[in-house]
Amino acid sequence: MTAREEVLARIEAALRTGGTGPDGPVPVLYRTHGDLSLPELLALAASRLADYRAIVRRATAATLAAEVSAALAKRGARRLVVPPGLDIELPAFAEVTVDDGLTPAELDTYDGVVSRAAVAIAETGTIVLDGSPGQGRRAITLVPDYHLCVVEASQVVHLVPEAVARLASAAARPLTWISGPSATSDIELERVEGVHGPRTLEVVLVAA
């Protein structure tokens, strides 16, 4: 008997002995739809992102380029890597490389990365990247120490289950859920920001 056959046979035997237990659909009594207006939603997203030490900027379509430029200038980020398909205007001082399969060691030499996101969750202050154009390979938003992420108002949902539902069609793609910069609570359970992932996360929320 292969290990596979044996483990499956054991499961069958265990359920025969112990009974199978409940079946039928799981009742959904938890919240699956938010109830906030768009301004409330964006305000909540901004405050929850900031709670976990992301830097938050608010912009409109008209001021986006200026906000991005101001963020990069303040950070002193010049050498930037960006994913293919990024449709954001970057300032003239930036030296921009479009990722075409850079090695981890090469990525480690950049000042930062600029990307878009797929979904953002207001209640938890989370942005989710799904690797589609404008977001790129997982490595490019991981290795550089600074991540500037642009989120459109239409991408912001209130609740975690809403985000999961929106991402259903992207389930086959690699997903990265990001809530603030990297952090650890491993020393006396005290939270410290900045370990292996980008130590600075800056989010530009673009109102409709």
Binding site: I11, V28, R48, A171, A172, T184, L189, R191
Partner: protein
């Protein structure tokens, strides 16, 4: 190998599931360590407050717990079908699925895969399943070095220590002890390293950076695996998980078979329950999900090892199997009055605390962890905080009974507990016998020291081995009643 109802439990001699000393003996030693108790009290007090605050924010927390429990119960009821579905979805997207009957087989599979990838080093994401099977020891025996990359696991590894908490394996260490371990064991550590947590995190970042950027093979566990889509999910904080899951060419994931969940939408429940219960955050900093191989992005060789190692034996016990619902948040450890005082090492298993006391004995067979179901006051705090509503006190009582029954069967005679209880019953049904026994018990006052009795003569010594007995009063209630001139 022992079995439960014919189903094999986790084999001895490999991995870290068994007590070396019974809990009362190990606990007595831990209780003598004032530094340990102070570290634990500080850490668990902090995390309890954080958890309570973020759980209190959600108006539907109870509904989420109900859903979490219901999803897990339904998963177990049809576990074989969900595993086959997971296997077929992962395989369809270029992943390779392996099955392991036990720890030894899982270790063999991973060792072979690392060799086939021509690697002598691997980077590891914190994983209880690989701690459970003793993977690092097995790899070392094969000449392969495993680098733990989670900060707490790194502290444990560099300190040649053992994990003592599910979430924060180095919870028993304070910042000064961690500084000393880093200064002593970390190649290239700054001699002026301070004990500021941020400085210690920075030291770990520098130490591991080169390893991340050059590693070719990573080993991880999985928090969830979605049968419907073949998606694997790892929840973490530091970014060491993302590094391991993204940069190497080969990724090997070892997962207990109970980690499968049926549907994509189930993630919407568990990604709320887990972070709030675990680190007390609304959401942990990073969650990675991957579904098979994505050309040009991340590891191009993906393996998934599905591990039994006693889980099917636990599944066979309808009164104990809910322990398999555990999502490893560690909330039950943080609220447990016993854990807070003894720490995790006293439990002897990689699964300490209340959940460990119900899970470890079921994985190994109760006889091999016989004292763990008794390592609890049954106060019920663990049940109240469990995000998937595992009724831990009820399972503890069930396992105590199972231990007594198995012991009688094994030894062919009643246990000391059974004899004591029978004797107590004989005494208590007769008022005269009861009065005589009470009078006799006052003789025990001679044994008191500092208001307690810590050692009764046999056969009562069994009781005081694990606890102090109160000193019997000078006068019984019945004597006092009569002295008041009442009937």
């Amino acid at each position: 190998m022992s079995t439960f109802l014919g189903l094999p439990t986790a084999p001895p001699g490999v991995g870290h599931l068994r007590q070396e000393a019974p809990f009362p003996v190990a606990a007595r030693q831990a209780l003598g360590n004032a530094q340990l108790r102070s570290n634990l009290r500080k850490a668990t007090t902090t995390i309890r407050a954080k958890r309570a605050a973020v759980v209190g924010e959600l108006p539907d927390w109870e509904q989420l717990r109900e859903a979490g429990q219901a999803i897990k119960a339904r998963t177990m009821a049809d576990l074989g079908r969900y595993l086959e579905q997971l296997e077929s979805e992962v395989s369809a997207r270029g992943g390779i699925v392996h099955w392991a009957r036990d720890a030894a087989e899982a270790n063999q599979i991973v060792t072979r895969l690392v060799r086939e990838a021509d690697a002598t080093e691997v980077v590891k994401v914190k994983s209880l399943a690989t701690d459970e099977i003793g993977l690092n020891d097995a790899l070392a025996a094969a000449g392969i070095t495993a680098h733990e990359t989670d900060l707490a696991e790194l502290i444990v590894q560099l300190g040649r220590d053992r994990p003592s908490h599910i979430l924060v394996p180095a919870i028993h260490r304070n910042r000064a002890e961690i500084r000393d371990i880093f200064a002593r064991e970390m190649a290239g550590a700054d001699p002026g390293l301070t004990d500021e947590p941020s400085a210690l995190a920075e030291a770990a970042r520098r130490y591991l950076r080169r390893k991340f950027l050059t590693a070719t093979v990573a080993v991880s566990g999985a928090n969830f695996a979605v049968a419907e889509t073949g998606t694997l999910c790892v929840v973490e904080s530091e970014g060491n998980g993302r590094m391991c899951l993204t940069l190497p060419r080969t990724l090997i994931t070892v997962m207990g078979i109970e980690k499968v969940i049926p549907a994509w939408t189930d993630l919407g429940v568990f990604l709320q329950l887990l972070p709030r219960s675990s680190t007390g955050e609304r959401m942990n900093p990073y969650t990675s999900m991957w579904t098979g191989v994505t050309p040009g992005d991340g590891p191009q060789a993906l393996h998934l090892v599905l591990l039994d190692n006693g889980r099917t034996a636990a599944l066979a016990d309808p009164a104990g199997r809910d322990a398999l619902h555990c999502i490893r948040c560690s909330a039950c450890l943080n609220v447990c009055p016993v854990y807070e005082r003894t720490g995790g090492h006293a439990y002897g298993s990689v699964y300490p605390g209340p959940i460990g006391a119900v899970l470890s004995p079921q994985l190994t067979g109760v006889a091999d962890n016989a004292s763990l179901p008794f390592a609890s006051t049954l106060c019920g705090a663990c049940y109240d905080v469990c995000p998937v509503k595992i009724n831990i006190p009820e399972i503890l009582v069930h396992l105590r009974a199972r231990h007594v029954e198995e012991d009688i069967r094994e030894r062919g005679k009643p246990s000391a507990e059974a004899i004591t209880m029978a004797a107590a019953s004989w005494v208590m049904v007769s008022p005269a016998r009861y009065a005589t026994a009470q009078a006799a018990s006052r003789a025990a006052r001679l044994l008191r020291r500092r208001g307690r009795i810590s050692g009764l003569p046999p056969p009562l010594a069994a009781w005081t081995r694990a606890r102090d007995a109160p000193v019997p009063p000078r006068q019984t209630f019945r004597q006092w009643w009569r002295s008041q001139g009442r009937p």
